[in-house]
Amino acid sequence: MKSLRLTVSSLFLALASATALADATLLNASYDVARDVYKDYNPLFQKYWKAKTGESLELKQSHAGSTKQVRAVADGLEADVVTMNQANDVEFLADKGLVAKDWAKKFPNNASPYTSAMVFIVRKGNPKALKDWGDLAAAGVQVIIPHPKNTGNGRNTYLSAWAWALRQPGGNDAKAQEFVGKLLKNAPLFAAGGRDATTTFMQRRLGDVLITFESEAEMIAKEFGKGEFEVIHPSLTMQTEFPVAVVDKVVDKKGTRKQATAYLEYLWSKEGQENAAQNYLRPRDPELLKKYAAFFPPVKTFTVDEVFGGAHKAFVTHFKDGGSFDQIYVAK
Protein backbone atom coordinates (compact mmCIF):
# COMPACT_ATOMS: atom_id res chain seq x y z
CA MET A 1 0.00 0.00 0.00
CA LYS A 2 2.74 2.43 0.98
CA SER A 3 4.78 1.64 -2.10
CA LEU A 4 1.70 2.15 -4.25
CA ARG A 5 1.17 5.60 -2.78
CA LEU A 6 4.81 6.36 -3.43
CA THR A 7 4.49 5.29 -7.04
CA VAL A 8 1.40 7.40 -7.57
CA SER A 9 2.91 10.52 -6.05
CA SER A 10 6.13 10.11 -7.99
CA LEU A 11 4.07 9.74 -11.17
CA PHE A 12 2.45 13.08 -10.45
CA LEU A 13 5.80 14.70 -9.80
CA ALA A 14 7.11 13.42 -13.10
CA LEU A 15 4.03 14.74 -14.84
CA ALA A 16 4.28 18.16 -13.22
CA SER A 17 8.01 18.64 -13.74
CA ALA A 18 7.77 17.95 -17.46
CA THR A 19 6.16 21.35 -18.01
CA ALA A 20 8.44 23.51 -15.87
CA LEU A 21 11.36 24.13 -18.24
CA ALA A 22 10.26 26.94 -20.60
CA ASP A 23 10.24 30.69 -19.87
CA ALA A 24 6.58 30.88 -20.74
CA THR A 25 3.92 28.51 -21.89
CA LEU A 26 1.14 29.22 -24.34
CA LEU A 27 -1.87 27.02 -24.89
CA ASN A 28 -3.55 27.20 -28.28
CA ALA A 29 -7.09 25.81 -28.27
CA SER A 30 -8.00 24.86 -31.80
CA TYR A 31 -10.54 23.00 -33.92
CA ASP A 32 -10.07 19.30 -34.49
CA VAL A 33 -8.19 19.11 -37.79
CA ALA A 34 -5.86 22.04 -37.06
CA ARG A 35 -3.02 19.89 -35.86
CA ASP A 36 -0.95 19.77 -39.03
CA VAL A 37 -1.01 23.54 -39.50
CA TYR A 38 0.15 24.33 -35.99
CA LYS A 39 2.47 21.36 -35.62
CA ASP A 40 4.60 22.98 -38.34
CA TYR A 41 3.88 26.56 -37.30
CA ASN A 42 4.86 26.21 -33.64
CA PRO A 43 8.58 25.46 -34.22
CA LEU A 44 8.71 28.38 -36.70
CA PHE A 45 7.36 30.75 -34.09
CA GLN A 46 9.52 29.34 -31.31
CA LYS A 47 12.61 29.99 -33.41
CA TYR A 48 11.48 33.49 -34.34
CA TRP A 49 10.64 34.40 -30.74
CA LYS A 50 13.88 33.00 -29.39
CA ALA A 51 15.89 35.05 -31.90
CA LYS A 52 13.90 38.19 -31.17
CA THR A 53 13.63 38.08 -27.39
CA GLY A 54 15.86 35.27 -26.18
CA GLU A 55 12.84 33.65 -24.53
CA SER A 56 12.15 29.99 -25.06
CA LEU A 57 8.45 29.29 -25.29
CA GLU A 58 6.59 26.10 -24.74
CA LEU A 59 3.59 25.78 -27.03
CA LYS A 60 0.79 23.43 -26.14
CA GLN A 61 -2.10 22.37 -28.32
CA SER A 62 -5.62 21.40 -27.49
CA HIS A 63 -7.82 19.93 -30.20
CA ALA A 64 -11.49 19.04 -30.28
CA GLY A 65 -14.62 20.16 -32.09
CA SER A 66 -14.64 23.94 -32.45
CA THR A 67 -17.79 24.58 -30.43
CA LYS A 68 -16.74 22.17 -27.71
CA GLN A 69 -13.43 24.03 -27.43
CA VAL A 70 -14.92 27.46 -26.85
CA ARG A 71 -17.25 25.99 -24.25
CA ALA A 72 -14.21 24.55 -22.50
CA VAL A 73 -12.42 27.92 -22.62
CA ALA A 74 -15.51 29.58 -21.15
CA ASP A 75 -15.58 26.93 -18.42
CA GLY A 76 -11.96 27.55 -17.48
CA LEU A 77 -9.62 25.88 -19.98
CA GLU A 78 -6.68 28.29 -19.77
CA ALA A 79 -6.02 28.81 -23.46
CA ASP A 80 -3.99 31.93 -24.25
CA VAL A 81 -5.21 31.96 -27.82
CA VAL A 82 -8.06 30.36 -29.74
CA THR A 83 -7.67 29.46 -33.42
CA MET A 84 -11.10 28.39 -34.63
CA ASN A 85 -12.93 27.56 -37.82
CA GLN A 86 -16.13 29.51 -37.19
CA ALA A 87 -16.62 33.17 -36.27
CA ASN A 88 -19.66 32.17 -34.22
CA ASP A 89 -17.45 30.32 -31.79
CA VAL A 90 -15.15 33.28 -31.13
CA GLU A 91 -18.26 35.46 -30.86
CA PHE A 92 -19.45 33.18 -28.08
CA LEU A 93 -16.27 33.93 -26.10
CA ALA A 94 -16.70 37.66 -26.77
CA ASP A 95 -20.24 37.45 -25.37
CA LYS A 96 -18.86 35.80 -22.25
CA GLY A 97 -16.31 38.58 -21.83
CA LEU A 98 -13.21 36.42 -22.34
CA VAL A 99 -12.31 37.88 -25.69
CA ALA A 100 -12.44 41.55 -26.77
CA LYS A 101 -15.75 42.58 -28.37
CA ASP A 102 -13.83 43.92 -31.39
CA TRP A 103 -11.68 40.80 -31.74
CA ALA A 104 -12.21 40.69 -35.52
CA LYS A 105 -10.44 44.07 -35.85
CA LYS A 106 -7.44 43.21 -33.68
CA PHE A 107 -5.75 41.45 -36.58
CA PRO A 108 -5.87 42.00 -40.36
CA ASN A 109 -8.36 40.26 -42.68
CA ASN A 110 -11.17 39.89 -40.19
CA ALA A 111 -8.67 38.19 -37.83
CA SER A 112 -8.49 35.20 -40.17
CA PRO A 113 -4.90 34.53 -41.31
CA TYR A 114 -5.90 32.05 -43.98
CA THR A 115 -9.06 30.83 -45.64
CA SER A 116 -10.49 27.82 -47.38
CA ALA A 117 -13.36 27.22 -49.78
CA MET A 118 -16.18 24.72 -49.91
CA VAL A 119 -15.59 22.23 -52.74
CA PHE A 120 -17.15 19.06 -54.14
CA ILE A 121 -15.41 15.71 -53.84
CA VAL A 122 -16.67 13.31 -56.51
CA ARG A 123 -15.76 9.76 -57.44
CA LYS A 124 -12.91 9.19 -59.89
CA GLY A 125 -13.84 10.35 -63.41
CA ASN A 126 -16.85 12.30 -62.07
CA PRO A 127 -19.35 9.71 -63.46
CA LYS A 128 -22.41 11.91 -62.81
CA ALA A 129 -20.72 15.00 -64.32
CA LEU A 130 -21.35 17.19 -61.28
CA LYS A 131 -19.93 20.64 -62.02
CA ASP A 132 -21.97 23.14 -60.05
CA TRP A 133 -24.55 23.49 -57.29
CA GLY A 134 -27.40 23.14 -59.78
CA ASP A 135 -26.27 19.61 -60.67
CA LEU A 136 -26.48 18.50 -57.04
CA ALA A 137 -30.23 19.08 -56.91
CA ALA A 138 -30.89 16.90 -59.99
CA ALA A 139 -32.88 13.69 -59.62
CA GLY A 140 -30.83 10.60 -58.81
CA VAL A 141 -27.84 12.39 -57.28
CA GLN A 142 -26.89 11.52 -53.71
CA VAL A 143 -25.23 14.28 -51.67
CA ILE A 144 -23.25 13.58 -48.50
CA ILE A 145 -23.06 16.44 -46.00
CA PRO A 146 -22.94 16.73 -42.22
CA HIS A 147 -25.99 18.05 -40.43
CA PRO A 148 -26.57 21.67 -41.53
CA LYS A 149 -28.09 22.69 -38.23
CA ASN A 150 -25.22 21.87 -35.91
CA THR A 151 -21.96 21.42 -37.83
CA GLY A 152 -19.71 24.00 -39.48
CA ASN A 153 -19.31 21.97 -42.68
CA GLY A 154 -23.04 21.49 -42.98
CA ARG A 155 -23.82 25.17 -42.42
CA ASN A 156 -21.21 26.29 -44.95
CA THR A 157 -22.62 23.93 -47.55
CA TYR A 158 -26.15 25.10 -46.93
CA LEU A 159 -25.20 28.77 -47.16
CA SER A 160 -23.04 28.21 -50.26
CA ALA A 161 -25.93 26.57 -52.09
CA TRP A 162 -28.27 29.35 -50.94
CA ALA A 163 -25.90 32.10 -52.12
CA TRP A 164 -25.43 30.39 -55.48
CA ALA A 165 -29.20 30.18 -55.99
CA LEU A 166 -29.57 33.86 -55.03
CA ARG A 167 -27.11 34.87 -57.73
CA GLN A 168 -28.88 32.94 -60.48
CA PRO A 169 -30.98 35.00 -62.92
CA GLY A 170 -34.17 35.99 -61.15
CA GLY A 171 -32.89 34.59 -57.87
CA ASN A 172 -34.51 35.55 -54.58
CA ASP A 173 -34.82 34.13 -51.09
CA ALA A 174 -37.94 32.13 -51.89
CA LYS A 175 -36.30 30.49 -54.90
CA ALA A 176 -33.10 29.90 -52.93
CA GLN A 177 -35.06 28.16 -50.18
CA GLU A 178 -36.81 25.99 -52.76
CA PHE A 179 -33.47 25.10 -54.37
CA VAL A 180 -31.78 24.24 -51.07
CA GLY A 181 -34.80 22.13 -50.20
CA LYS A 182 -34.35 20.15 -53.41
CA LEU A 183 -30.64 19.71 -52.70
CA LEU A 184 -31.28 18.50 -49.15
CA LYS A 185 -33.78 15.94 -50.48
CA ASN A 186 -30.80 14.37 -52.23
CA ALA A 187 -29.03 13.77 -48.92
CA PRO A 188 -29.72 10.15 -47.89
CA LEU A 189 -28.57 11.03 -44.35
CA PHE A 190 -26.92 13.80 -42.38
CA ALA A 191 -23.53 12.81 -40.99
CA ALA A 192 -22.70 13.80 -37.41
CA GLY A 193 -19.58 15.77 -38.39
CA GLY A 194 -17.02 16.39 -41.09
CA ARG A 195 -15.04 13.27 -40.34
CA ASP A 196 -18.18 11.19 -40.28
CA ALA A 197 -19.27 12.48 -43.67
CA THR A 198 -15.86 11.60 -45.13
CA THR A 199 -16.05 8.06 -43.76
CA THR A 200 -19.55 7.68 -45.18
CA PHE A 201 -18.41 8.80 -48.63
CA MET A 202 -14.95 7.23 -48.85
CA GLN A 203 -15.25 4.07 -46.79
CA ARG A 204 -18.91 3.13 -46.97
CA ARG A 205 -18.90 4.43 -50.56
CA LEU A 206 -22.30 6.01 -50.16
CA GLY A 207 -23.35 8.95 -52.35
CA ASP A 208 -22.06 10.66 -55.48
CA VAL A 209 -20.62 13.83 -53.97
CA LEU A 210 -19.19 14.94 -50.65
CA ILE A 211 -19.06 18.64 -49.83
CA THR A 212 -16.21 19.75 -47.62
CA PHE A 213 -13.37 22.23 -47.13
CA GLU A 214 -10.76 22.46 -49.89
CA SER A 215 -8.09 21.98 -47.20
CA GLU A 216 -9.71 18.76 -46.04
CA ALA A 217 -9.54 17.23 -49.52
CA GLU A 218 -5.78 16.91 -49.09
CA MET A 219 -6.20 15.19 -45.74
CA ILE A 220 -8.60 12.75 -47.36
CA ALA A 221 -5.96 12.09 -50.03
CA LYS A 222 -3.45 11.37 -47.27
CA GLU A 223 -5.62 8.63 -45.85
CA PHE A 224 -7.47 7.23 -48.84
CA GLY A 225 -5.09 7.92 -51.73
CA LYS A 226 -5.24 10.61 -54.41
CA GLY A 227 -6.50 8.39 -57.20
CA GLU A 228 -9.79 7.67 -55.45
CA PHE A 229 -11.57 10.97 -56.05
CA GLU A 230 -11.58 14.33 -57.82
CA VAL A 231 -11.98 17.83 -56.43
CA ILE A 232 -14.49 20.08 -58.21
CA HIS A 233 -14.62 23.84 -57.61
CA PRO A 234 -18.17 25.13 -58.19
CA SER A 235 -18.80 28.47 -59.94
CA LEU A 236 -19.45 30.23 -56.64
CA THR A 237 -18.63 29.04 -53.16
CA MET A 238 -18.13 30.27 -49.64
CA GLN A 239 -14.78 31.58 -48.53
CA THR A 240 -14.50 30.05 -45.09
CA GLU A 241 -12.55 31.95 -42.48
CA PHE A 242 -10.46 30.69 -39.59
CA PRO A 243 -10.69 33.41 -36.97
CA VAL A 244 -8.05 33.74 -34.26
CA ALA A 245 -8.18 35.69 -31.00
CA VAL A 246 -6.21 36.33 -27.83
CA VAL A 247 -8.13 35.24 -24.72
CA ASP A 248 -7.81 38.43 -22.65
CA LYS A 249 -8.91 36.92 -19.39
CA VAL A 250 -6.24 34.19 -19.55
CA VAL A 251 -3.29 36.24 -20.83
CA ASP A 252 -3.92 38.97 -18.25
CA LYS A 253 -3.91 36.40 -15.49
CA LYS A 254 -0.84 34.56 -16.78
CA GLY A 255 1.01 37.65 -17.99
CA THR A 256 1.43 36.25 -21.50
CA ARG A 257 -0.31 38.93 -23.56
CA LYS A 258 2.89 39.92 -25.37
CA GLN A 259 3.75 36.36 -26.39
CA ALA A 260 0.17 35.41 -27.28
CA THR A 261 -0.31 38.47 -29.48
CA ALA A 262 3.01 37.87 -31.25
CA TYR A 263 2.07 34.22 -31.75
CA LEU A 264 -1.04 35.21 -33.68
CA GLU A 265 0.58 38.15 -35.51
CA TYR A 266 3.30 35.89 -36.83
CA LEU A 267 0.63 33.88 -38.68
CA TRP A 268 0.58 36.78 -41.17
CA SER A 269 4.37 36.72 -41.68
CA LYS A 270 5.85 35.22 -44.86
CA GLU A 271 6.80 32.08 -42.94
CA GLY A 272 3.39 31.76 -41.31
CA GLN A 273 1.58 32.29 -44.60
CA GLU A 274 3.78 29.84 -46.44
CA ASN A 275 3.14 27.23 -43.75
CA ALA A 276 -0.61 27.70 -44.19
CA ALA A 277 -0.24 27.26 -47.95
CA GLN A 278 1.78 24.10 -47.46
CA ASN A 279 -1.07 22.77 -45.34
CA TYR A 280 -3.53 23.52 -48.16
CA LEU A 281 -5.07 26.59 -46.56
CA ARG A 282 -5.34 29.64 -48.84
CA PRO A 283 -2.86 32.26 -47.66
CA ARG A 284 -3.90 35.92 -47.51
CA ASP A 285 -0.62 36.94 -49.13
CA PRO A 286 -1.41 37.33 -52.87
CA GLU A 287 2.15 36.47 -53.93
CA LEU A 288 2.04 33.17 -52.09
CA LEU A 289 -1.41 32.43 -53.40
CA LYS A 290 0.08 32.75 -56.88
CA LYS A 291 3.11 30.64 -56.00
CA TYR A 292 0.86 27.80 -54.83
CA ALA A 293 -1.68 28.27 -57.63
CA ALA A 294 -1.52 24.55 -58.42
CA PHE A 295 -3.22 23.84 -55.07
CA PHE A 296 -5.48 26.86 -55.21
CA PRO A 297 -7.19 27.36 -58.57
CA PRO A 298 -8.85 30.77 -58.77
CA VAL A 299 -12.40 30.44 -57.56
CA LYS A 300 -15.22 32.94 -57.21
CA THR A 301 -16.10 33.18 -53.55
CA PHE A 302 -18.41 35.12 -51.30
CA THR A 303 -18.11 35.76 -47.57
CA VAL A 304 -20.91 35.30 -45.08
CA ASP A 305 -20.69 39.01 -44.29
CA GLU A 306 -21.35 39.99 -47.91
CA VAL A 307 -24.34 37.76 -48.57
CA PHE A 308 -25.85 37.05 -45.17
CA GLY A 309 -24.83 40.10 -43.13
CA GLY A 310 -22.52 38.24 -40.76
CA ALA A 311 -22.23 34.80 -39.21
CA HIS A 312 -24.58 35.59 -36.37
CA LYS A 313 -27.35 36.86 -38.61
CA ALA A 314 -26.95 33.85 -40.92
CA PHE A 315 -27.25 31.57 -37.91
CA VAL A 316 -30.41 33.22 -36.63
CA THR A 317 -32.12 33.34 -40.05
CA HIS A 318 -31.24 29.83 -41.14
CA PHE A 319 -30.24 27.49 -38.34
CA LYS A 320 -31.92 28.63 -35.17
CA ASP A 321 -35.08 26.75 -34.20
CA GLY A 322 -37.76 27.81 -36.66
CA GLY A 323 -35.18 29.12 -39.16
CA SER A 324 -35.16 28.34 -42.86
CA PHE A 325 -33.64 24.89 -42.31
CA ASP A 326 -36.46 23.89 -39.98
CA GLN A 327 -39.04 25.22 -42.44
CA ILE A 328 -37.55 23.15 -45.27
CA TYR A 329 -37.20 20.13 -43.10
CA VAL A 330 -40.72 20.19 -41.72
CA ALA A 331 -42.04 20.60 -45.26
CA LYS A 332 -40.03 17.57 -46.30
Partner: protein, 291 residues
Protein backbone atom coordinates in the same frame (compact mmCIF):
# COMPACT_ATOMS: atom_id res chain seq x y z
CA UNK B 1 -37.48 -36.86 -11.38
CA UNK B 2 -34.99 -34.05 -11.22
CA UNK B 3 -32.22 -36.48 -12.05
CA UNK B 4 -34.12 -37.57 -15.12
CA UNK B 5 -34.53 -33.98 -16.30
CA UNK B 6 -30.84 -33.30 -15.83
CA UNK B 7 -29.71 -36.11 -18.08
CA UNK B 8 -32.23 -35.22 -20.74
CA UNK B 9 -31.02 -31.64 -20.88
CA UNK B 10 -27.55 -32.78 -21.78
CA UNK B 11 -28.84 -35.28 -24.32
CA UNK B 12 -30.44 -32.87 -26.76
CA UNK B 13 -30.17 -33.98 -30.36
CA UNK B 14 -26.82 -33.17 -31.91
CA UNK B 15 -28.27 -30.60 -34.30
CA UNK B 16 -29.76 -28.59 -31.44
CA UNK B 17 -26.44 -28.50 -29.67
CA UNK B 18 -24.62 -27.61 -32.87
CA UNK B 19 -27.07 -24.81 -33.67
CA UNK B 20 -26.85 -23.33 -30.18
CA UNK B 21 -23.09 -23.53 -30.30
CA UNK B 22 -22.98 -21.93 -33.73
CA UNK B 23 -25.29 -19.09 -32.64
CA UNK B 24 -23.25 -18.44 -29.51
CA UNK B 25 -19.87 -18.59 -31.18
CA UNK B 26 -21.07 -16.73 -34.25
CA UNK B 27 -22.39 -13.91 -32.11
CA UNK B 28 -19.13 -13.77 -30.19
CA UNK B 29 -17.12 -13.69 -33.37
CA UNK B 30 -19.14 -10.93 -35.07
CA UNK B 31 -19.51 -8.64 -32.10
CA UNK B 32 -16.25 -9.22 -30.24
CA UNK B 33 -13.75 -11.10 -32.34
CA UNK B 34 -14.11 -9.18 -35.59
CA UNK B 35 -13.91 -5.67 -34.11
CA UNK B 36 -10.89 -6.69 -32.05
CA UNK B 37 -9.26 -8.21 -35.11
CA UNK B 38 -10.13 -5.13 -37.18
CA UNK B 39 -8.29 -2.88 -34.72
CA UNK B 40 -5.08 -4.82 -35.18
CA UNK B 41 -5.52 -5.24 -38.94
CA UNK B 42 -6.01 -1.49 -39.39
CA UNK B 43 -3.15 -0.68 -37.05
CA UNK B 44 -0.80 -2.94 -38.98
CA UNK B 45 -2.19 -2.01 -42.41
CA UNK B 46 1.08 -0.38 -43.45
CA UNK B 47 3.35 -2.86 -41.78
CA UNK B 48 5.00 -3.27 -38.42
CA UNK B 49 7.60 -0.45 -38.77
CA UNK B 50 4.88 2.18 -39.41
CA UNK B 51 2.90 0.77 -36.49
CA UNK B 52 5.87 1.02 -34.14
CA UNK B 53 6.65 4.51 -35.41
CA UNK B 54 3.07 5.56 -34.59
CA UNK B 55 3.52 4.24 -31.06
CA UNK B 56 6.76 6.21 -30.67
CA UNK B 57 4.84 9.46 -31.06
CA UNK B 58 5.42 11.40 -27.80
CA UNK B 59 1.76 12.38 -27.59
CA UNK B 60 0.68 8.76 -27.86
CA UNK B 61 3.21 7.80 -25.21
CA UNK B 62 1.95 10.50 -22.92
CA UNK B 63 -1.64 9.32 -23.49
CA UNK B 64 -0.70 5.75 -22.52
CA UNK B 65 1.11 7.07 -19.47
CA UNK B 66 -1.78 9.29 -18.37
CA UNK B 67 -4.27 6.45 -18.79
CA UNK B 68 -2.23 4.28 -16.45
CA UNK B 69 -1.68 7.13 -13.96
CA UNK B 70 -5.40 7.86 -13.72
CA UNK B 71 -6.27 4.19 -13.34
CA UNK B 72 -3.73 3.87 -10.51
CA UNK B 73 -4.78 7.11 -8.86
CA UNK B 74 -8.44 6.14 -8.51
CA UNK B 75 -7.58 2.70 -7.17
CA UNK B 76 -6.87 3.50 -3.48
CA UNK B 77 -10.00 5.65 -3.25
CA UNK B 78 -12.13 2.98 -4.88
CA UNK B 79 -10.81 0.28 -2.55
CA UNK B 80 -11.34 2.40 0.54
CA UNK B 81 -14.84 3.44 -0.45
CA UNK B 82 -15.83 0.05 -1.83
CA UNK B 83 -14.80 -1.91 1.26
CA UNK B 84 -16.29 0.65 3.66
CA UNK B 85 -19.60 0.80 1.82
CA UNK B 86 -19.87 -2.97 1.42
CA UNK B 87 -18.96 -3.44 5.06
CA UNK B 88 -21.62 -1.05 6.31
CA UNK B 89 -24.29 -2.49 4.03
CA UNK B 90 -23.53 -6.17 4.54
CA UNK B 91 -22.86 -6.24 8.26
CA UNK B 92 -25.17 -3.62 9.75
CA UNK B 93 -28.81 -2.68 9.63
CA UNK B 94 -29.69 0.97 9.67
CA UNK B 95 -32.28 3.40 8.38
CA UNK B 96 -31.70 4.57 4.83
CA UNK B 97 -29.73 1.48 3.88
CA UNK B 98 -31.66 0.92 0.67
CA UNK B 99 -31.20 4.59 -0.17
CA UNK B 100 -27.45 4.15 0.20
CA UNK B 101 -27.51 1.11 -2.09
CA UNK B 102 -29.45 3.12 -4.68
CA UNK B 103 -26.96 5.98 -4.43
CA UNK B 104 -24.07 3.61 -5.05
CA UNK B 105 -25.71 2.62 -8.30
CA UNK B 106 -26.13 6.23 -9.39
CA UNK B 107 -23.02 6.33 -11.61
CA UNK B 108 -24.38 3.33 -13.53
CA UNK B 109 -27.62 5.18 -14.17
CA UNK B 110 -26.15 8.59 -15.05
CA UNK B 111 -24.75 8.99 -18.55
CA UNK B 112 -20.97 9.56 -18.35
CA UNK B 113 -21.22 12.79 -20.34
CA UNK B 114 -23.73 14.12 -17.82
CA UNK B 115 -21.37 13.05 -15.04
CA UNK B 116 -18.62 15.10 -16.66
CA UNK B 117 -20.93 18.10 -16.96
CA UNK B 118 -21.78 17.82 -13.27
CA UNK B 119 -18.12 18.40 -12.46
CA UNK B 120 -17.97 21.36 -14.86
CA UNK B 121 -20.94 22.79 -12.96
CA UNK B 122 -19.13 22.26 -9.68
CA UNK B 123 -15.55 23.15 -10.53
CA UNK B 124 -15.71 24.99 -13.88
CA UNK B 125 -14.91 28.71 -14.16
CA UNK B 126 -18.59 29.55 -13.78
CA UNK B 127 -19.29 26.69 -11.38
CA UNK B 128 -19.96 26.77 -7.64
CA UNK B 129 -16.34 26.32 -6.56
CA UNK B 130 -14.73 27.61 -9.76
CA UNK B 131 -13.99 31.20 -8.69
CA UNK B 132 -12.49 30.05 -5.39
CA UNK B 133 -10.32 27.43 -7.11
CA UNK B 134 -9.13 29.97 -9.68
CA UNK B 135 -8.32 32.53 -6.99
CA UNK B 136 -6.20 29.97 -5.16
CA UNK B 137 -4.46 28.73 -8.31
CA UNK B 138 -5.87 25.22 -8.06
CA UNK B 139 -6.47 23.62 -11.41
CA UNK B 140 -9.12 20.92 -11.28
CA UNK B 141 -11.16 21.01 -14.47
CA UNK B 142 -9.19 20.68 -17.72
CA UNK B 143 -6.32 19.21 -15.73
CA UNK B 144 -5.41 15.79 -14.37
CA UNK B 145 -7.19 16.19 -10.99
CA UNK B 146 -10.52 16.79 -12.71
CA UNK B 147 -10.01 13.74 -14.89
CA UNK B 148 -9.25 11.65 -11.80
CA UNK B 149 -12.38 12.92 -10.06
CA UNK B 150 -14.55 12.16 -13.10
CA UNK B 151 -13.06 8.67 -13.42
CA UNK B 152 -13.59 8.10 -9.72
CA UNK B 153 -17.27 8.96 -10.05
CA UNK B 154 -17.68 6.54 -12.95
CA UNK B 155 -15.82 3.64 -11.33
CA UNK B 156 -16.63 3.72 -7.63
CA UNK B 157 -19.67 1.39 -7.70
CA UNK B 158 -17.71 -1.55 -9.09
CA UNK B 159 -15.92 -2.70 -5.94
CA UNK B 160 -18.86 -2.08 -3.62
CA UNK B 161 -21.23 -3.88 -6.00
CA UNK B 162 -18.87 -6.85 -6.15
CA UNK B 163 -18.36 -7.07 -2.39
CA UNK B 164 -21.89 -6.50 -1.08
CA UNK B 165 -23.39 -9.88 -2.14
CA UNK B 166 -20.18 -11.69 -1.17
CA UNK B 167 -20.08 -10.19 2.31
CA UNK B 168 -23.82 -10.67 2.77
CA UNK B 169 -23.53 -14.35 1.92
CA UNK B 170 -20.63 -14.76 4.33
CA UNK B 171 -22.65 -13.28 7.18
CA UNK B 172 -21.08 -11.90 10.34
CA UNK B 173 -20.52 -15.14 12.30
CA UNK B 174 -16.76 -15.23 11.80
CA UNK B 175 -16.32 -11.60 12.79
CA UNK B 176 -18.43 -12.13 15.90
CA UNK B 177 -16.33 -15.15 16.81
CA UNK B 178 -13.14 -13.12 16.39
CA UNK B 179 -14.43 -10.32 18.61
CA UNK B 180 -15.64 -12.74 21.30
CA UNK B 181 -12.19 -14.35 21.29
CA UNK B 182 -10.70 -10.94 22.10
CA UNK B 183 -9.63 -9.53 18.75
CA UNK B 184 -9.60 -5.76 18.31
CA UNK B 185 -11.54 -4.18 15.45
CA UNK B 186 -8.47 -3.85 13.22
CA UNK B 187 -7.26 -7.35 14.02
CA UNK B 188 -10.64 -8.72 13.04
CA UNK B 189 -10.58 -6.74 9.79
CA UNK B 190 -7.06 -7.74 8.74
CA UNK B 191 -7.19 -11.39 9.88
CA UNK B 192 -10.80 -12.38 9.26
CA UNK B 193 -12.68 -10.01 6.95
CA UNK B 194 -9.98 -9.15 4.46
CA UNK B 195 -8.81 -12.74 3.81
CA UNK B 196 -12.45 -13.69 3.25
CA UNK B 197 -13.09 -11.01 0.66
CA UNK B 198 -9.70 -10.72 -0.98
CA UNK B 199 -10.59 -12.44 -4.27
CA UNK B 200 -13.86 -10.59 -4.56
CA UNK B 201 -12.02 -7.36 -3.86
CA UNK B 202 -9.42 -8.10 -6.49
CA UNK B 203 -12.15 -8.91 -8.98
CA UNK B 204 -13.79 -5.56 -8.25
CA UNK B 205 -10.44 -3.80 -8.61
CA UNK B 206 -9.94 -5.35 -12.04
CA UNK B 207 -13.42 -4.39 -13.22
CA UNK B 208 -13.12 -0.79 -12.05
CA UNK B 209 -9.63 -0.63 -13.52
CA UNK B 210 -10.88 -1.77 -16.92
CA UNK B 211 -13.60 0.85 -16.83
CA UNK B 212 -11.18 3.57 -15.70
CA UNK B 213 -8.83 2.93 -18.61
CA UNK B 214 -11.59 2.79 -21.20
CA UNK B 215 -13.70 5.70 -19.96
CA UNK B 216 -14.42 8.25 -22.67
CA UNK B 217 -17.49 10.40 -22.06
CA UNK B 218 -16.94 11.83 -18.60
CA UNK B 219 -13.21 12.30 -19.08
CA UNK B 220 -13.73 13.91 -22.48
CA UNK B 221 -15.89 16.63 -20.95
CA UNK B 222 -13.36 17.62 -18.26
CA UNK B 223 -10.13 16.95 -20.15
CA UNK B 224 -9.60 20.09 -22.23
CA UNK B 225 -7.81 17.83 -24.76
CA UNK B 226 -4.35 19.34 -24.27
CA UNK B 227 -2.02 17.17 -26.30
CA UNK B 228 0.68 15.44 -24.33
CA UNK B 229 -0.93 16.59 -21.09
CA UNK B 230 -4.61 15.79 -20.60
CA UNK B 231 -5.36 13.31 -23.38
CA UNK B 232 -5.97 9.76 -22.23
CA UNK B 233 -5.81 6.90 -24.73
CA UNK B 234 -9.51 6.86 -25.65
CA UNK B 235 -9.46 10.65 -26.20
CA UNK B 236 -6.24 10.43 -28.15
CA UNK B 237 -7.70 7.75 -30.41
CA UNK B 238 -10.66 9.98 -31.25
CA UNK B 239 -8.55 13.02 -32.09
CA UNK B 240 -6.14 11.02 -34.26
CA UNK B 241 -9.06 9.51 -36.12
CA UNK B 242 -10.58 12.95 -36.71
CA UNK B 243 -7.24 14.09 -38.10
CA UNK B 244 -7.28 11.37 -40.74
CA UNK B 245 -4.41 9.61 -38.99
CA UNK B 246 -5.93 6.14 -39.18
CA UNK B 247 -2.70 4.27 -38.45
CA UNK B 248 -1.99 6.39 -35.39
CA UNK B 249 -5.58 6.04 -34.18
CA UNK B 250 -5.69 2.28 -34.56
CA UNK B 251 -2.19 1.85 -33.12
CA UNK B 252 -3.31 3.72 -30.00
CA UNK B 253 -6.53 1.70 -29.99
CA UNK B 254 -4.53 -1.51 -30.17
CA UNK B 255 -2.64 -0.51 -27.02
CA UNK B 256 -5.96 0.07 -25.33
CA UNK B 257 -7.16 -3.33 -26.56
CA UNK B 258 -3.98 -4.94 -25.22
CA UNK B 259 -4.53 -3.34 -21.83
CA UNK B 260 -8.05 -4.74 -21.92
CA UNK B 261 -6.75 -8.20 -22.81
CA UNK B 262 -4.30 -8.09 -19.91
CA UNK B 263 -7.22 -7.15 -17.64
CA UNK B 264 -9.21 -10.05 -19.05
CA UNK B 265 -6.45 -12.53 -18.33
CA UNK B 266 -6.06 -11.17 -14.80
CA UNK B 267 -9.80 -11.48 -14.32
CA UNK B 268 -9.78 -15.10 -15.49
CA UNK B 269 -6.96 -15.96 -13.11
CA UNK B 270 -8.77 -14.34 -10.21
CA UNK B 271 -12.00 -16.15 -11.05
CA UNK B 272 -10.12 -19.41 -11.22
CA UNK B 273 -8.48 -18.81 -7.83
CA UNK B 274 -11.82 -17.84 -6.32
CA UNK B 275 -13.42 -21.06 -7.51
CA UNK B 276 -10.51 -23.12 -6.31
CA UNK B 277 -10.67 -21.55 -2.89
CA UNK B 278 -14.43 -22.17 -2.58
CA UNK B 279 -13.93 -25.78 -3.67
CA UNK B 280 -11.20 -26.22 -1.07
CA UNK B 281 -13.41 -24.75 1.64
CA UNK B 282 -16.24 -27.06 0.70
CA UNK B 283 -13.91 -30.04 0.72
CA UNK B 284 -12.64 -29.13 4.16
CA UNK B 285 -16.13 -28.87 5.56
CA UNK B 286 -17.92 -31.90 4.13
CA UNK B 287 -20.54 -31.82 6.89
CA UNK B 288 -21.76 -28.40 5.95
CA UNK B 289 -22.55 -29.35 2.40
CA UNK B 290 -25.53 -31.45 3.34
CA UNK B 291 -27.01 -28.85 5.66
Amino acid sequence: MSHNKLTRATQEPAWVRATLLAVGLGFLFFFLGMPLLAVFVEALAQGLPVYLEALKDPETRSAIWLTVVIALAVLPFNILFGVAAAWVIAKFDFRGKSLLITLIDLPFAVSPVVAGLIFILLFGAQGYFGPWLAANEYKVIFAVPGMIIATLFITFPFIARELIPLMQSQGKDEEEAAISLGASGWQMFWRVTLPNIKWGLLYGVILSNARAMGEFGAVSVVSGHIRGETNTLPLHVEILYNEYNAIGAFAAASVLALLALVTLVAKTIVEWRMRKETDMLNAELPGEKTQ
